[in-house]
Point group: C7
Chain length 279, copies 7
Amino acid sequence: MNLLENGLNFNWSGALELIITNGLKIILLIIGLMIAAPLGKKIISKTITAASNKEKISQGRIRTLEKLLINIYSYVLIFLFIVMLFGIFEIPVAPLLAGAGVLGLAIGFGAQGLVSDVVTGFFLLLEKQVEVDEYVTAGGYDGIVEEVGLRTTKIRSFDGTLNFVPNREISGVSNHSRGTMRALVDIGISYEDNIDEAMAVLQTICDEFKENDDRFKEGPDVLGVQSIGSSDIVLRVLGQTENMAQWAVERDMRKRIKEAFDAAGIEIPYPHQVNVDKT
Amino acid sequence: MNLLENGLNFNWSGALELIITNGLKIILLIIGLMIAAPLGKKIISKTITAASNKEKISQGRIRTLEKLLINIYSYVLIFLFIVMLFGIFEIPVAPLLAGAGVLGLAIGFGAQGLVSDVVTGFFLLLEKQVEVDEYVTAGGYDGIVEEVGLRTTKIRSFDGTLNFVPNREISGVSNHSRGTMRALVDIGISYEDNIDEAMAVLQTICDEFKENDDRFKEGPDVLGVQSIGSSDIVLRVLGQTENMAQWAVERDMRKRIKEAFDAAGIEIPYPHQVNVDKT
Amino acid sequence: MNLLENGLNFNWSGALELIITNGLKIILLIIGLMIAAPLGKKIISKTITAASNKEKISQGRIRTLEKLLINIYSYVLIFLFIVMLFGIFEIPVAPLLAGAGVLGLAIGFGAQGLVSDVVTGFFLLLEKQVEVDEYVTAGGYDGIVEEVGLRTTKIRSFDGTLNFVPNREISGVSNHSRGTMRALVDIGISYEDNIDEAMAVLQTICDEFKENDDRFKEGPDVLGVQSIGSSDIVLRVLGQTENMAQWAVERDMRKRIKEAFDAAGIEIPYPHQVNVDKT
Amino acid sequence: MNLLENGLNFNWSGALELIITNGLKIILLIIGLMIAAPLGKKIISKTITAASNKEKISQGRIRTLEKLLINIYSYVLIFLFIVMLFGIFEIPVAPLLAGAGVLGLAIGFGAQGLVSDVVTGFFLLLEKQVEVDEYVTAGGYDGIVEEVGLRTTKIRSFDGTLNFVPNREISGVSNHSRGTMRALVDIGISYEDNIDEAMAVLQTICDEFKENDDRFKEGPDVLGVQSIGSSDIVLRVLGQTENMAQWAVERDMRKRIKEAFDAAGIEIPYPHQVNVDKT
Amino acid sequence: MNLLENGLNFNWSGALELIITNGLKIILLIIGLMIAAPLGKKIISKTITAASNKEKISQGRIRTLEKLLINIYSYVLIFLFIVMLFGIFEIPVAPLLAGAGVLGLAIGFGAQGLVSDVVTGFFLLLEKQVEVDEYVTAGGYDGIVEEVGLRTTKIRSFDGTLNFVPNREISGVSNHSRGTMRALVDIGISYEDNIDEAMAVLQTICDEFKENDDRFKEGPDVLGVQSIGSSDIVLRVLGQTENMAQWAVERDMRKRIKEAFDAAGIEIPYPHQVNVDKT
Amino acid sequence: MNLLENGLNFNWSGALELIITNGLKIILLIIGLMIAAPLGKKIISKTITAASNKEKISQGRIRTLEKLLINIYSYVLIFLFIVMLFGIFEIPVAPLLAGAGVLGLAIGFGAQGLVSDVVTGFFLLLEKQVEVDEYVTAGGYDGIVEEVGLRTTKIRSFDGTLNFVPNREISGVSNHSRGTMRALVDIGISYEDNIDEAMAVLQTICDEFKENDDRFKEGPDVLGVQSIGSSDIVLRVLGQTENMAQWAVERDMRKRIKEAFDAAGIEIPYPHQVNVDKT
Amino acid sequence: MNLLENGLNFNWSGALELIITNGLKIILLIIGLMIAAPLGKKIISKTITAASNKEKISQGRIRTLEKLLINIYSYVLIFLFIVMLFGIFEIPVAPLLAGAGVLGLAIGFGAQGLVSDVVTGFFLLLEKQVEVDEYVTAGGYDGIVEEVGLRTTKIRSFDGTLNFVPNREISGVSNHSRGTMRALVDIGISYEDNIDEAMAVLQTICDEFKENDDRFKEGPDVLGVQSIGSSDIVLRVLGQTENMAQWAVERDMRKRIKEAFDAAGIEIPYPHQVNVDKT
């Protein structure tokens, strides 16, 4: 009887105490969750909106980033809620987490590249370092951007190759589609030609282009003697053109200069060598 | 007698309490497992299906990825269930896990490459960066893809070598089988030749190819004076061809240009040198 | 007397309780071990057999891998059993493991290379990336494989050197003994020669080889004008040969082409230079 | 009744004790927070102000740095307060944090680049290594600084490209806009020319520039025979110019020297070769 | 008196219990040690002996390795015994170890190179990758091995330099003293010479060497036309020689070939150039 | 009443015990602090003074280093005192620190570069590897040191660029301002000239410089035939000069040698080529 | 009264027990320390002495190493004693150490280079890899060793530069001052010269040096035809000289060979070219 009694009316007051304490803890936890969830989402939305206003990012992209961040936030919150609930009921989560830690370590080391990709991708988008259809050099690849993703950026090379570049490989971005580009032509004249005369011919051509070719935003102009080569005096012509027009402009200028030099009798010299005959 | 009594009717109420508490914990645990198992599988299936619809991955590949992910999920769930069961019966798993941790550290460092392989391989498949029979450059290897695995990608070089590339080595993929390819021919003419005349001859050839050769998707066309070389004026011809036809097309164009230049008397010059005799 | 009594009949019921509880734990542990041991071995055997069937690995190698994995599994099981036994008797293993952890960290960092070796070696064997007597390029070494071990692969260079390559250094394997190999000969003709005529001569040679030389599996054939060099027009001939026959075939073709060109009066030109005499 | 009594009047004194203890702890915590918050802010402000006075940083930048640091400080304080509050109510935060630790590890590895960016960026600003509109070489990029951010520095190359350089890539900064720059011209004369005579001509030109060209801050002067080349004796002229004027100055000097040498009959030699005719 | 009594006859039964429990633990520990110590040594000895039988390592080296491993094993055992003894007496070793852990981390990072050295050195010895007096290339150093240590390998370069190579730097070993070596001579003949005739002369020389020179283990033989150079047709001769005799053999063959070609009137051509005179 | 009584006179003796124990702990802690603080400072001062005496560092620099180290020491002491005080009052600092640990990990990884900078900078100063106004090569930068800081070293290149080098990038310092420098002139003479005669002329010049030029600390002297070039016999002249005078000295010697050779009729040859005319 | 009584005569027996237990622990600890301290020092001294006897290190250096190691050992012992003392009095050192751990991590990462320096420096000294006044190549620096420190090695380059090399940068040491050095002269003769005759002339010179020049320890001797160059037949002469005499010896041999070849009418040929005139 004593046994039964002991068994049946076991420490009810302790149980009650436990229930009350735990109940209070759970309520506190839920309140915390109810405050944290909308608060966090609001903060994310506001930060994104503020950032977008300042940086003038397109609405579509803002929504994408916002959704992504809120999703991550929700998952973390749920994970923490479950862990703490288990903790209140004293179901041992610590070993569970330690066990996960061993796995996590191996995975963490292996997957850090993935996190790097996403972090870099996030900033590529936020700081608008690259946009679709821009001509960039990034991660050793060179071409037109076809897609900027969180993990991978697709760049189409000029030879038609489609390059998939993990964002972590992009240590620095050279964006060739932001502003006017330089057109530069170096042309050698012979040692016997008069430098002033050659520069006058070049300047005439430059002036023609200035007047007639509206691809030029600035210049072109003759800079002077860039170097004294082993067989020629190198003159430099420089200008600023519309974006992506630099190559066509340089090709046109090269053709024009060759023809003008031919007309003016100025020689573009072949490599020279002085031969000393030994006797 | 007192001894025996003490021994036999030891703290039964405490034991009962323990049994009830633990029983409740186990039931809670099993319920958790029963919810988590199908839920997780469903989420995996749905995510994969959604991703596959969006990315249009073949059914076979979807099944492979789904099976792989569900397998991993199941193993993790079973591992956690066992760990927590042990925890409820207070069999010390913490030291066990700590011990495993020491091993795990050594293994984790050594095996991180393996995890990297699988993570990268997963995205190679999911993002369809490479497909079998495509011509790619990846991890310093160049050739036709024979197999894309979770750990290793097999690439057949054009010289017949079969390359086994661990996926982690693939930092960026250049896929040469996605779209039209560029055919580019640079050809030098002598300083004495008339540039306009040579460009006209080249354009005639380009027009012929445009009409008769349907391997060309765009062009070819003459771009202009690409550079003023030390012994020649370099002209550039550019077009877009069917994928993998670029080399044959370039070979045909080179032959045609050489023959047309011979016919038109335009010289493709040898290297020049001016000899000054010292006396 | 009170003292003695206290000392002698100390908390027997607690001791009894302890014995019963621990006894139960030990029994549970042994049962767990008795289930885990054969189960694990079975799983390993089955996995290996399944893998071997699929990949057609030789019986000897399967046995080696199986034995290795079962050994590792046994050691881990024994280690865990001892740790948990100590845990039940409350002999403090945690500090022991922590102590080992400090050592383990230093060793783990230093020995991770060893683990990398074994992991890579395991997959070299399992995925049959290299076999003995194959000609491979791996880890910067080039030659015939003499032995593939779990830690080191031995490669015999063609100059007679025996290279010991730690498996971790093998980031990618180029296996030159899997399938037909390419035979490729580039040959230059002079600017004055007729391209069609030269290609006809080359194709005649190719046809001869096709008929008479069964080392060729495909081709050889003339591809066309590969490049316009500074002093010659380069033509390319390409075929597929038996494995390892590619070098002998190329040597034979080079000899044959030289002789045929001599007979047909087609010049293989020396480097050219145009001399302009300055006066 | 005994049951009820037990349940209702459970350990009130313990609860009271708990409340008092915890209340005291919370009060202590809040006091700590109230001291730490303004104190920390004050220390940050003062440090920044002191640093700014010493380094003469613009007011705008000081405010930016101050706000950034106070923000970080506030977030850390709030995070710690919450964690300790939870700890006082014995809501298990340790597992929570351990769980976060597993995540944190993965993120920490992936995001360390971000922290590196900010740390380096902070010192770029504080130590004023680069300013907007300066010409620098940093992280392999070369050009005019357009913006120095905490994460990214924007450098405009001279060819018009806009480079986004993550600050962590900037291992050393070469700032070309801090002080006078060197103008250096190397000019070769023939073996037959008199060295003293040539150096006299060069010094005359140098003296002209010294008098007439106020872009020169020091020199230019003739240094002497820099090297005995295979075909010429190389003389060196050196001076210090205004910042960014060095290239124009060098171009002007090259032109002037060429003209003066022509006038004085001093030869700038072509490469020489002695020809031995074999008989 | 009550006080004194309390103080003096404090919980004797508890103390007794403690003593008995701890005594049992210590006995268990000592038994464990007494089993582990000889068992471990036996396992080490047997493993080493087994390994040595299989690999045929010299007796001296086996003893060295055995002694080293048993030493390490003993130190670890003693360390663990002390730690666990402290644990039984509840002297707090955990903080001690944690403290050591902080130190250990710093040291571990710094000293991992040392561990790497020993691990690599151990396998260099065990796998007999290098032996004293062999000619090897390892870690970028090239020469005769003078000593293989656990930490450092000493290599004497052919120029007399003594190189100390930390074993960790040895990522792969090229051992040039294991088997016959290749003797290879490439020789160019002029375009005008008859290939068959030249190959016949070379084969005659090869046959002479085969008969008279017992340094050759295989060959030498003429392989054929290795390449068509810009000025010559390159023929290749190949053979297998005694180890380290390859250089002397090649020198002798070169001299013999030059003399035979002179006798047979076959030209080894100088670089050729075609001169086109521009008029 | 029972309730109240229970509540009011709760475990006073326990509280008293707690107060006494904690009081003792706090006193012990304060005593520890009071001993550690001045002791540590004294040790730092003495160490610095001792080091400075031995290394002869300037007083200003000693003060800087001393202040820096004492500051760091004080902050660490205060941090530890607060942590331990919290620990005595059982305010849970462990989770706090664990939380900080997660942050700390991320920051630790990111900021380790900063610590590296300071550690390296400390030794740069202490070991006096570089001083202001010395000419050094460090971290790939070359020039005059303008400032050595704890984080950054400023080096002024000879072209006027100011380089900011983070100290961690300085893996080795080449200090060119510590002792006499070498002046070395290599000069080629023709194959036809008499070597002894040319060496006599050179030695005469060397003797002139020895007598008249006190920039030379040792030599110069003729060493002999440094190499047999493809067109000349190269002779070497070597001497030791005052620091930073080496370039001017070399320039003067080159000029003198050229003039003396011209006077003595010794030829400094152009590149030679033997022309074989094919008929 | 009950209250007071309770407060005053609180658990004295417990306190007594505590004092006795702790006293015992402290005594045990001190005994441990008293055994460990001299024992450790003895072991260090003996090991060092043993090592020094075996390696014949100078007495001064042994003392330095011994003092360094005993110092480190003492600090570690004191640190551990304090930590354990705190642990006995239950002053919470664990959080303290954890706190230090966060700092320690950051510092550990940053300072690991320092530990690497000392570890490498220790072995540089112990294994006598470099001695003062030896000519070595280490860490990319080349010159005479001026000082070997635990952290830094000072190497004086031949151009007078003083290099400070952190020991960690020294991955392998090439010591050029350990034994005889090789003197090697390669000399080309023309295709027309008789090889046997030229080798006879060279051997005569070698024999002269053998007899008259005691800087030679072995040889010199003529090896044979080292290579068939594009314009010459290269012969090799090889010998072993006194340490550091190799350069002077080579210079003397070059001069002697040139003079002997001139006397014997053997040509050292200039580069050759065959000119084919196109008509």
